[in-house]
Structure formats: C-alpha cells, structure tokens
C-alpha cells in the first residue's frame, strides 16, 4: 500500500497532468482546455501553500539549531527574528507599504543585495587579469571574441573606431547566436526526451528515487 501511495499514485498524477497539458496545447477541445485551466489554477494554489511550507521549514530548521546550540546558532536566532519582524511589518496595514517595512527593505536588504551584484565587476576584472590564460588556439579565439564584445559594449570604443560595434554585433549575431541556437535546440530535444521518460514513469528523480 505504501509503495502505491509513495510511488504509483504520484507517477500517475505526473503522467496524467503532463499528457493533459500537451493535449491542451495542441488540440483546442473545450473539455481539455477547461481541465488544463483547472490544473493550472491548482498549481497556483499549491505554489502559494509551498511558500508557507518553506517559511515554516525555515523556522523549524533554525529553531532546532538554536535548541541544539550548534556553532552559528546566533545567526539562526537572527534569521528567525528578522524573518518574523519583516513578515509582521509586511502584513501590517497598508500591506507591504508600511513605512517600517519599506525602511527595512531600503536600508537592510537593498544595500547588501546591490553590493553583492556590484562586486562581480571587481572579480571579473581580477579574473580577466589573473585567471584567463591563452594556451591553445581556441583560447586565442575566445580572447579575441571577448575583447571585441567588451569593446562593442563600451560607447567610448565607437568614438575611437567605428568598427568595434560592427565587429561586436557580427560576433553576437553570427557565431554566438549559432552557438546559442544549437544549445537551445539540444536542450529542447533533451527536455522532450526527459518529458517522455517522466510520462512513462521511467524518470523517478522527482520522487526522491
């Protein structure tokens, strides 16, 4: 019985939903489209609940860390306090527009979030200097392409030489686009194959097997 509940029923649900969605996409039959619509609405509701589940899990995991006094349990306490505080202020009227909530967003969340992204520029330059090495013919091609693309994106380069944007655009539109198309088509075929395996019950990764 437990095998049926844990494996067979979820597999049946997955296969049924997948087939329903595929049929609805290709065949405009009213029964199919209303069933697909209903299934999609269920997903929205389930996804909403999964957010609550995630929040509950966050509290449980961090409470356990505090109670066991594991190293870094102070941070766990900080997570719980900030989570509950932000949640309460976010739900306070007017929802998500409470001045205290916006203050937290503006002064606690935004600066580190922006800084982390901004730091990428530092590491890019450092990687360009220290990590990128030309050892093979392919790496020379990569260096030349990267160089022209970088220059094409710098408005100052067009002032120096009109050719930079043209060469950069050609690299983007021809070799790079060709590579990306190959990637997309390959990924699409792979997704089809994976989808078939899921529908047929051969792929059970989602069930934790």
């Amino acid at each position: 019985m437990s095998k049926v509940i844990r494996r067979e029923i979820p597999l049946l649900l997955v296969s049924f939903s997948a087939i329903l969605m595929i049929l609805d996409y290709f065949f405009p039959v009213p029964v199919l489209s209303s069933s697909a619509k209903l299934t999609n609405e269920w997903v929205v509701v389930i996804a909403g609940f999964s957010l609550c589940l995630g929040a509950t899990d966050l509290i449980i995991v961090n409470t356990r860390r505090i109670m066991r006094k594991t190293p870094g349990s102070g941070y766990a306490l900080l997570i719980i306090i900030s989570f509950l505080l932000t949640l309460l202020l976010g739900l306070s009227s007017p929802m998500t527009k409470h001045p205290a909530f916006q203050w937290i967003y503006d002064y606690f969340y935004r600066p580190p979030a922006g800084t982390l992204y901004g730091m990428l520029a530092l590491y890019l330059v450092s990687a360009g200097w220290r990590a990128f090495k030309i050892r093979t013919f392919e790496s020379v091609i990569m260096l030349v392409c990267a160089w022209f693309l970088i220059m094409a994106n710098a408005p100052i380069a067009a002032v120096v030489w009109e050719g930079f944007p043209s060469i950069g655009k050609w690299i983007m539109d021809v070799p790079s686009a060709a590579g990306w198309r190959a990637f997309y088509i390959g990924a699409a075929i792979g997704t089809l194959a994976l989808g078939l395996k899921v529908i047929l019950g051969l792929e059970r990764g989602a069930l934790g097997e």
């Binding site: 619509k37 609405e41 360009g128 220290r130 710098a154 944007p165 686009a177």
Partner: protein, 281 residues
C-alpha cells in the same frame, strides 16, 4: 629585481590593486563626466518604435521580475520605458510570476521615480502583485485572468476595477518584461506562441547573447541591455537621467576590463616562454 621577476610579480598581482583600479576608473567619470556620445543600437530603437506605434489607451502587460540587485542594470531602462508608456497614455498592468520581491522593489525603487500621480489606479494602471507558481501560474493567468486572480495586490476585486473587469490576455498589445536573465522563454512559450503577443525584454548585459537568437528570429520586438540600453532609451525619449550619467563609467570600466584581459594573457604567455627558454639553457 630583474625584468623576469617584474613580469612574474605583475602576473600574480594582488587582486586588491585591481579592485582599487576598478573603483577609481568607475568613480572618476561619475565625478568628472566625460560626455562620451552614445549611439542608439537597433534593438533599443526597435523597442522605442514598438511602443511609439501603440495607440493611446492600449493595454501593456509589465512582467515585473525586478529585484534589488537588478537596479544598476535594469532600473534605468525600466524607468525610461515606463515614462514613455505613460507619456503615450498607455494603460499598464503590473504582475510578477518569478520574483516575489518585485512589488516591494517597485514601491521603493521605481514608483517614486516615475510620475504615477497623474494616473488613476484601477483605470490607468493596476498592480496585481506576485503570483506563485512560475510558468504554470503564467499559463493560468494567460488562459483566464479573473479566475487565476480574484484580487489585486491591495485586496481590491479585479471585477470592480475598470481596467481588469473584462480583461483578457488578447487585450494586451505588448508585453514588457523585466528579465534578470532566466524567464524569457517561459513568457514567450505562454504568451507569444499561443496568443501572439509582442514582447520587449529589458535584461542584463550577460544575458544579451543568449537572447539574441530570439531577437534575430523576430520573437522579440526589442531588447534593452543593461545600463547602456537605459541610456539609449533615455536619449530617445529626450529625458537624460541616471543611465546617461552612468554610461561613462560603463565605458571606462569596460576598457579597463579589455586591457586587463589582454595584459593578463600577454604576461602569462611571456612568462611561460621565458621559463621554457630558461629550462632550455
């Protein structure tokens, strides 16, 4: 110290010197603007033309997947496009499917910089907020807006708001999507392939090569890439703002990166050749 030692030391240069250099090179043009001319690229011009061609009172869906880290790359373009849409008397519907923080980011970073005061909520624009469920939610929204969402983000019933009362996905003339680099295909699959909606993407510089095939295929009606795209758009709508003032920094930092890339590779090559020569002796 001999020439070889100098070259080796330079190759293994402490990253912190480079970090200081990046800071100086980026900050300098912010303090002393260089005024480098910005040429309008074809994808930005196409985006502008697509919005310019919209009839007044058209409805545009804003796929707001914006977040705080996206500010530098997407923020200026977002603001410039919204200013243009509002100037054209276009009605706007904001919704997020992938970024839960987008409504909060919109409140604090975008809304204060765009003149929403003259617009009437519920008639000229509606904020639907975040809808959980990713692509399935997007598909559900496309098939029936009122069944997927009963209320807007403030709790007002969609059936009571003039703009959303009878709104269908086919009523949208255009989709403008704030894309932090991952969700274009979902939007195109669920909105363009079945309903033929035109799509403009505002995206990161690093994502632009991945989205170029969509642009070349005509699936994208336009694309604004990073702060440079924002600067070009600000110039097109003749309202220079934060992007135009920051684009000089883009120039100088890109040139520094290009120099570092070549210099680092050159140093490594020379050092390798010299060490081989040393072993030969």
């Amino acid at each position: 110290m001999g020439a070889r030692e100098v070259l080796r030391t330079l190759e293994r240069l402490d990253s912190r010197y480079l970090f200081v250099l990046v800071f100086i090179v980026t900050a300098f043009p912010l303090v002393f603007p260089l005024g480098i001319p910005v040429k309008i690229s074809a994808p930005v011009q196409k985006s502008y033309d697509a919005i310019e061609a919209l009839a007044p009172n058209s409805v545009v869906l804003i796929g707001d997947e914006f977040s705080a880290p996206s500010w530098t790359e997407l923020g200026p373009s977002y603001i410039a496009v919204l200013k243009h849409l509002i100037r054209k008397n276009i009605r706007l519907v904001f919704v997020s499917f992938f970024s839960a923080e987008a409504p909060a980011a919109f409140d604090t970073m975008i809304k204060p910089r765009v003149d929403f005061a003259k617009l009437k909520y519920g008639v000229d624009f509606v904020e639907l907020g975040f809808v959980a469920g990713g692509e399935a939610a997007l598909a559900s929204f496309a098939s029936d807006i009122q069944r997927t969402l009963k209320v807007d983000r403030y709790g007002a019933s969609l059936s009571e708001l003039g703009l959303t009362k009878d709104l269908r996905i086919t009523h949208f003339s255009l989709v403008v999507e704030l894309d932090p680099g991952a969700h274009l295909s979902e939007y195109l699959r669920q909105l363009q392939a079945p309903y033929g909606l035109r799509h403009i993407s505002i995206t990161y510089g690093v994502t632009a090569p991945a989205y170029t095939p969509y642009l070349l295929a005509g699936q994208l009606s336009g694309m604004l890439v990073a702060i440079r795209g924002g600067a070009e758009y600000e110039l097109l709508i003749k309202e220079p703002g934060v992007a135009v003032s920051g684009v000089d920094g883009v120039s100088t930092s890109h040139v520094l990166f290009a120099i570092c890339l070549v210099a680092g590779s050159f140093l490594s090559l020379v050092n390798r050749l010299l060490s081989k020569e040393g072993k030969g002796k």
